[in-house]
Symmetry: C2
Subunit: 223 residues, 2 copies
DNA sequence: GCCGTGCTAACACGCCCGTGTCAGTTAAAA
DNA sequence: TTTTAACTGACACGGGCGTGTTAGCACGGC
């Protein structure tokens, strides 16, 4: 049986994925067209369609590739060891790794927003695995936050921090971070990076008010 | 001089605006095409283009009309008098008027998001009047919040609430509300309306921690 | 009744899109 | 060297888009 020249499909697809990411950053997810990505990669549409039969397949692959890229870029920064002056500063530096505070992180957030847009338009139907995976970025962050909160607090390391309370604080922080990111992306100039950093620290100082608990409702947010 | 039949341009444009709003709700701002809006209104493209020479003019008008519609629908609800059991509940019911907690408010938020998207793609250049106007929706809410905070707090009505502190709390709440709205729109099912209501009240209970101030930086957010 | 202007709607042009088809090319196996 | 299957790239089709043009229509004034 003859075996003609064979190209590494996975590598070609990865190459396509990088080109598509450039297209997303330039024109958004709607700009990820068969013709557009092929041109960006320097191919013809026929060649591209030999690897992706559909525009749907192309976009689905690109979204998955973008997800992986983001995980590889953001997670190490979030999880890298820190020597923070205070618990507030420690958590703040973690959270800031995911906020669009400079050009690089703005790119990352734009990519993430494109993934969210895709998953909103194409609900995962089968299993909720996909965007749960996305959310894991924030989720894993607030988990790290929990570690910082309970472990590194110098003065009150032994204070009772019931899981429900920490869970609530994490949910509050998660939501606040979403809002901060939304403001940084949608209305730049209205809130600067420095403003965002200050606001974040203000919230971190305010939200676990040392003694009094914010009276957690029974599981205020889903798993 | 002969004066043939004359139609009320403003009324026709308003009619077009309503059709365009339906299109936005169905297909998003990108669906606001000359052909699409004309078909939605039951006109021909030629007729439409007699009132709007450009797609740009059409979309600009639609965005403005949407802004006005939102103001007319949301502001009265925000400003209506309330008899709240507590300050937290009072502010919560105000803020909830702007959160996409049911189908109607989801529609309003989708329209508002379309306006924000437009203004992000077409920066106002001349003056920052336009989206400042948009932001005024939230802004005016947090102003109402300030009134509630200082006036209606039963137990500690005379406590010193320096303007800088209230300003900071308002900014924190504003950002939190943005995040809550973003989560409700982008990942429904992840956080339900009831979850959002609970989270909001948890934040309101936590953020002004009765006595200790969150140590406001000098003007943490712009005007 | 007639006119002329404002309005209407149909068509045409060029562009970009997704998709299908298919002759040509390439390189590994025989 | 020949074969052959995988790969390439160009073209065509249908459709939607923005926009320009233009013939026809309606109706207030004469």
């Amino acid at each position: 049986m003859n075996v003609p020249r064979l190209v590494d499909h996975d590598q070609r697809r990865a190459e396509l994925g990088e080109a598509a990411i450039r297209v997303i950053l330039r024109e958004g997810l709607a700009g990820v067209t068969v013709r557009g990505v092929a041109a960006e990669a320097g191919w013809s549409t026929g060649s591209l369609r030999h690897y992706f039969g559909n525009q749907y397949e192309l976009q689905a692959y690109v979204v998955q590739a973008t997800t992986d890229t983001l995980r590889r870029r953001v997670l190490p920064r979030v999880q890298r060891p820190r020597t923070a002056d205070s618990a507030v500063e420690g958590v703040a530096t973690i959270v800031e790794e995911m906020l669009p505070l400079d050009a690089g992180r703005r790119e990352e957030y734009a990519l993430w927003a494109a993934v969210v847009e895709w998953e909103r338009q194409h609900p995962p139907e089968g299993g909720s695995a996909s965007w749960n995976d996305q959310r894991a970025l924030h989720r894993q962050c607030v988990a790290a936050l929990r570690g910082h909160e309970t472990a590194r607090e110098p003065g009150q390391a032994a204070l009772p921090h019931p899981d429900a309370e920490v869970e609530l604080w994490a949910a509050l922080l998660h939501t606040f971070v979403d809002g901060l990111a939304s403001q940084l992306m949608n209305t730049p100039g209205q809130v600067s990076a420095a403003d965002a950093a200050q606001l974040l620290r203000s919230l971190l100082r305010a939200v676990p008010p040392a003694g009094s608990s914010p009276s957690a409702g029974s599981s205020p947010v889903g798993p």
